[in-house]
Every structure is written in structure tokens, then in C-alpha cells.
Symmetry: C2
Subunit: 197 residues, 2 copies
DNA sequence: GTATTATCTTGAACGCTGTTCAATTATTTT
DNA sequence: AAAATAATTGAACAGCGTTCAAGATAATAC
């Protein structure tokens, strides 16, 4: 085992190691001993820093969502002058692109399930508010805040479902990006038509 | 431990035990020793019947999907004389209803992830074809088979995403059925408008 | 009815997991 | 330099899926 890492930065090192493992091998490989081996410390040290493995996973997943949020924000910025449909489509494609590029990290966010009795921490849910805000900010001004919120959640959820089932290959034989893009187009098309009415 | 079960029916007993455990305690509780205890046999017997635990889980999940398919089929039948929007909405509500009623069994279907190298068996994917067929059969006749297929997959995926994220409470504080129904309504509304154009 | 063969069943044991905690080492304070 | 505090360690524990030699049971042969 390598030399001890500099003091006080164990937490950051562990989070970085967790992200590397997630990206390279997926959620199942994100194990206590794997983290310890990667940062060069004892397994027990993990529990001096985090309450349990779930806490570390939640932090890593939260970072993934933050990363995704930034990319979506950029996609929105890039289409600032476009039509509403173009903006919504850019967000949807951005989501698909992220999921396809960082599949393992992105899957980990939804694969990880807390025990039923454990509640999702508030700070975690808070972290994904920007995702919905991105969508809501594209919706027309005549809508009420509640209406925007409902619509944003609907669009996000629907797009997520399309991307999830496409990448999981449970419904289809293999992931077909072009086909998935068509599906997102269908979704956005319908939404825009509804908004105009 | 109780007396040995009648011979030759071990497989069925184990599947039944698996479904009971899924319904009562969720996927995480579906463990080799739990099954053995419930049917009153040794742990090893499980591996005389199934190759591994994944196989049993896939079978149990497949049954859940079959059950869901039947309910959706009934929902479609019940609205046979209604408008297209009514039919699609009945299917969507039926899906939500099933997920809300049989949450743990339904969640197990999507929580369970095979190791990356393991392929989803063909018979498993085959089992969910009826789900999509239900939707496709409601779509207008002027659409091509490919168009129907794409649209059906899109609607199913989108509705699934809406239901999943609502019941997982990752996006929102608590599950609000009325709100979720409104979201499904928005989705179907948009789809129908697109179909008319 | 007995001997032989084939099949099914068993549960201890293996390697893996997350987690704990007394003992050790390192750091800070006096 | 000594005492007090804090951080780190890794063997040990219970639980997981899985294996497999041994034993129990059923089927077949004579």
C-alpha cells in the first residue's frame, strides 16, 4: 500500500476515487475496499469520513447531477435565440448526450436505491432543482409558476423515461441513438403543440 | 424447518415464495436463504432449479409484467368505444394504478440490474412485447407499423418516466397521485394533438 | 425382493460484502 | 518533554451468493 495521503483531504480523495470507479466500472464496483485501495488507506477510514457507503454514493451521484445541470444550462444558453421547440429539444438532446457519454455515472444515479426506511436527504433533492428550473425557464410567460413546475417535471420525467428505457435495452435489443432522438422529438413536438393551444 | 415439500414442484414453490417476498419486502429481501427458508429446503436446492438468483428474479419480474399486461389489456377493452385520448389515458392511468398498488413488485422490475456482461434473455424481452402492442393497437390506422411502434415505445417510456420519478420521490418530497395523473394527462394530450396534425 | 444405478437434496464451507472497534500512530496542547 | 487529544488502522463479525462432496431418495434391472 502506498504512502499516506496528505492529511485533511481524505474526504475529497475518496469522492474523487468514487467518481473514477463509477465512471470505469459502475455502481456495483463502488465498494468500501475499492475506495480504500484507491486512496491508499484502511477500510475503516471510510467510516471516519462518511456514515456509511450510501452517503458517499449520494455525494458522487449528486456531483453527477450537478455536472449534468451545467451542461443543460449551456445547451439552453446556446439556443437562447431559438424557438421554444428548439430550446426544449436542445435540453432533451443534451440529456441524452450526457447519458450516452457518461452512461455508468448517469445510471448509478438511478440504480442506487436507499433502504425503504431511509429517507433521501434534503440536500440531495435540493441539488436537482436546477435541472427542473432549466426547463421551467424555457416555458412561456403566461403560465403560472405551478403550471410551469408541473410541466417542467413532466417533460423531464418523460424524457428521462425515454432515455432510460433506451439505454437499459430492456425494451429493445440494442441502443439506437437516432431512434431515441426521434422519440425525444415526438415528445417535445407534442408538448409544444399543447402549450400553443 | 417444516417437512419437505412435495417433489417436483420445487420450482413453482420457489417462484411463489419469490413473489411473496417481493411484494412484502422488496427486491433487496429476495435472497437465496430467504427463499429456502420459505419453501423449507436447503439453500443449495435453489441452484438445482435455477442457474443463479438472477434467473429467479427475472422469472418473478416477468410474471409481474405479465400481470401488468393483463390489467392494461382490460383497461383498453373497457374503453374500446371511447375516443383515442380516452383510451390512451386509460392505459396511462392503468399503469400508474398498477405501480401504486404493487409498488414493490413493480419497482423490482426496474431496480434489478444484471451485470454488464450478462445479456437480458430473449424470452424476457419477448414477454413485454404485449405491453407495447396494447398501446400500438390504439394508434390511428394511417400510421405505418414502424411509426406506431416508435410512438408506442415513446408513450410507454414517457409514462414510465413520469410514474417512476413520482414514486421514487427523488424529484419530489412525496408521492402525489393527483399530480401524477395530471402529468400523464399532459403527456397524452400532447401526443394526441401531434397525432391529429 | 434385492441390487444397482441414477437422481435429487443437503448444509458446511468459500470468498465476497459493509461495518465495527480496540489498539496503534500521529498531532496538538500544556 | 510530557500529557492529552485526534486520526488511522486492520483484524474480526455477520450476512451475502455460490459450490460441491456426501447422504438420502427414487428408478431401474435382474
Amino acid at each position: 500500500m502506498a504512502k499516506s495521503p496528505p492529511r485533511g483531504e481524505l474526504k475529497d480523495l475518496m469522492i474523487a476515487a468514487a467518481e473514477e470507479i463509477l465512471a470505469a466500472e459502475g455502481l456495483k464496483a463502488l465498494q468500501a475496499r475499492a475506495i480504500a485501495a484507491k486512496v491508499g488507506c484502511a477500510v475503516g477510514s471510510l467510516y471516519n469520513v462518511f456514515g456509511d457507503i450510501d452517503e458517499l454514493i449520494l455525494i458522487a451521484n449528486s456531483r453527477t447531477l450537478t455536472h449534468l445541470g451545467k451542461l443543460l444550462s449551456q445547451a439552453k444558453e446556446r439556443t437562447k435565440t431559438g424557438t421554444q421547440e428548439e430550446q426544449l429539444l436542445a435540453l432533451a438532446y443534451g440529456y441524452l448526450d450526457f447519458a450516452a457519454r457518461h452512461t455508468r455515472r448517469w445510471k448509478a444515479v438511478f440504480e442506487h436505491v436507499l433502504a425503504e426506511e431511509k429517507a433521501v436527504p434534503a440536500w440531495y433533492r435540493e441539488g436537482q432543482r436546477p435541472l427542473l428550473a432549466n426547463i421551467a425557464s424555457v416555458l412561456p410567460d403566461w403560465m403560472t409558476p405551478d403550471g410551469k413546475s408541473l410541466m417542467a417535471q413532466t417533460l423531464f420525467s418523460a424524457a428521462h423515461g425515454i432515455v432510460v428505457l433506451a439505454l437499459d435495452r430492456k425494451l429493445v435489443d440494442e441502443f439506437d441513438r437516432g431512434r431515441t432522438e426521434k422519440q425525444l422529438q415526438l415528445l417535445v413536438e407534442g408538448a409544444v403543440r399543447s402549450l400553443r393551444a
